[in-house]
């Protein structure tokens, strides 16, 4: 099969994929290979000694939540002694924003690609500011984490069961035409999700817990993000492992390195040091407090959302910085490094063109344009949390390394 034919097959499998938020289950019951001490994290694999402050903070919170330790010192001892089994979530059909920490007792969204029979998993979205995924772990964070897993998750599970699942792909398509880009702007998608969910929440829950759940999902602002990320991974995984395809199927960062995976190159990661982020900081914080780029959420860009869909979401620049003109220019640039356009995700401001889809390592290297990423900024110190949001770009070294490997593979 030629490269063009392989890429066409890859895109077709992605295009025909679905993403249905179908259930909530406990991580240890559904995530493959989840042992009693497994700790999954965002991005390519990274050892404890290279993990950044916010990722260590998140692991500290997760270990306290699991009852494995009660102080950061005890967690560090567990990690150094090798008692924690670290792995990339991407290796286990899972995905997570920022540090993306998943431990066995956490409840996870189950998102199903019904066409290709792929299930993917992500934790529940916690909100912005002082949250676990950004490395915060004080009593307030732990109380919220326990409520989400012990009370909110069972309620959502019942509601989803009654609904028979919620079609995320349709919500994404609709929200793109309502001014969202589905990474850092989810005003419409979050409301659409709540609209789809609310009648079922009311039907299965007690009034007080339902009111609390609705209020939380509404105020969290981006509650849908984690489920959309799992859905994006499920759709892209359908396009992975296509012999001779040059399309990127994963783009992820762990706060130390950024990595990509390419369909025709299997599960290999091509990595480079994670870049810093240019952005807008919350009051009291600045660039000197920022951690390098982190999280699996660039899976949204990989599926044609986030910065790739910014032309349809000019208001997102109020959160991440830039101008409406820049938002348009970014989407137009991303068309230069992709081989197709999404058949379902359409952008009104560019005459309903589909969002740029199928990042091609050849085009990235040839044009010198790397994928732009809209993202949150974590404080580099563990225990603080999110301090802003902004823009960065995947390092070119990931793509040149992948290109070299691709050529070498074809020669052998």
């Amino acid at each position: 099969m030629s490269i063009d034919e392989a890429n066409k097959t890859c895109l077709q499998r992605i295009q025909e994929s679905t993403a249905v938020w179908s259930d909530i289950k406990t991580a240890k019951d559904v995530i493959p290979g989840m042992t009693q001490r497994t700790v999954l994290h965002a991005g390519p694999p990274v050892a404890w000694e290279h993990m950044c402050g916010p990722m260590r903070g998140s692991i500290t919170g997760a270990c306290i939540y699991e009852g494995w330790a009660s102080t950061p010192e005890e967690v560090e001892q567990l990690a150094i002694s090798g008692e924690l089994e670290f792995d990339s979530s991407h290796h286990r059909n899972a995905i997570g924003p920022m540090s993306g920490i998943i431990t066995p007792s956490m409840e996870v969204n189950v998102v199903t690609n019904t066409v290709h029979g792929i299930e993917t998993y992500s934790t529940l979205y916690m909100g912005i500011g002082k949250v676990l995924r950004h490395g915060a772990f004080d009593d307030e964070v732990m109380t919220k984490l326990r409520w989400m897993n012990k009370e909110l998750a069972p309620l959502l599970k019942s509601a989803l069961g009654r609904a028979g699942g919620i079609d995320l792909k349709s919500i994404v398509a609709q929200a793109l035409q309502m001014g969202d880009e589905l990474h850092n702007r989810n005003k419409a998608s979050n409301a659409l999700l709540l609209t789809a969910l609310v009648q079922h929440l009311i039907s299965v829950g007690e009034k007080n817990e339902v009111v609390k759940a609705i209020d939380f999902i509404d105020k969290a602002g981006h509650f849908i993000l984690n489920a959309v990320m799992a859905g994006s991974k499920g759709m892209l995984d359908a396009g992975s492992n296509i012999e001779n395809s040059t399309i990127v199927t994963a783009l992820a960062r762990n706060g130390h390195e950024t990595g990509i995976r390419v369909s025709g190159l299997g599960d290999r990661w091509f990595t480079a040091p994670a870049p810093m982020i240019e952005g807008v900081y919350f009051p009291g914080f600045g660039p000197e407090d920022a951690n390098p780029d982190m999280g699996d959420s660039a899976i949204t860009e990989t599926i044609g959302l986030g910065s790739f869909a910014m032309a349809g979401a000019p208001a997102v620049v109020e959160y991440i910085g830039g101008t409406a003109k820049f938002a348009m220019e970014t989407t137009l640039k991303m068309y230069e490094i992709t081989v197709g356009e999404h058949e379902t995700f359409k952008l009104p401001p560019v005459n309903f063109r589909g969002t740029p889809l199928g990042i091609d390592i050849r085009k990235v290297v040839e044009t010198g344009i790397t994928p732009v990423i809209n993202t949150g900024i974590a404080c580099k110190r563990p225990g603080v949390g999110q301090i802003g949001a902004g823009l960065t770009a995947a390092p070119m070294e990931c793509f040149t390394a992948a290109l070299e490997a691709f050529v070498l593979r074809n020669k052998s």
Binding site: S2, I3, D4, N244, T246, R362, V365, E366, T367, G368, T400, L403, E404, F406, V407, N410
Partner: protein, 59 residues
């Protein structure tokens, strides 16, 4: 070419490919100019260009 059809006797409109300072000089002279966003393939890295060329045969 007749003298009144000379290029220099018509209004000049320019598309510039390459150094943007050429565009800036023309703009200062109030000449309409479009700066094309162009750069050499792979930033001019011949090794990468060779890798891309080797794949072009398989495309």
């Amino acid at each position: 070419m007749k003298p009144d059809q000379s290029l220099l006797q018509q209004p000049i409109r320019v598309i510039n490919i390459g150094l943007e300072s050429f565009s800036e000089d023309l703009r200062k002279a109030e000449i309409p100019v479009i700066q094309m966003d162009w750069r050499p393939p792979a930033g001019g890295d011949l090794r990468l260009v060779a890798l891309l060329d080797s794949l072009a045969e398989e495309a």
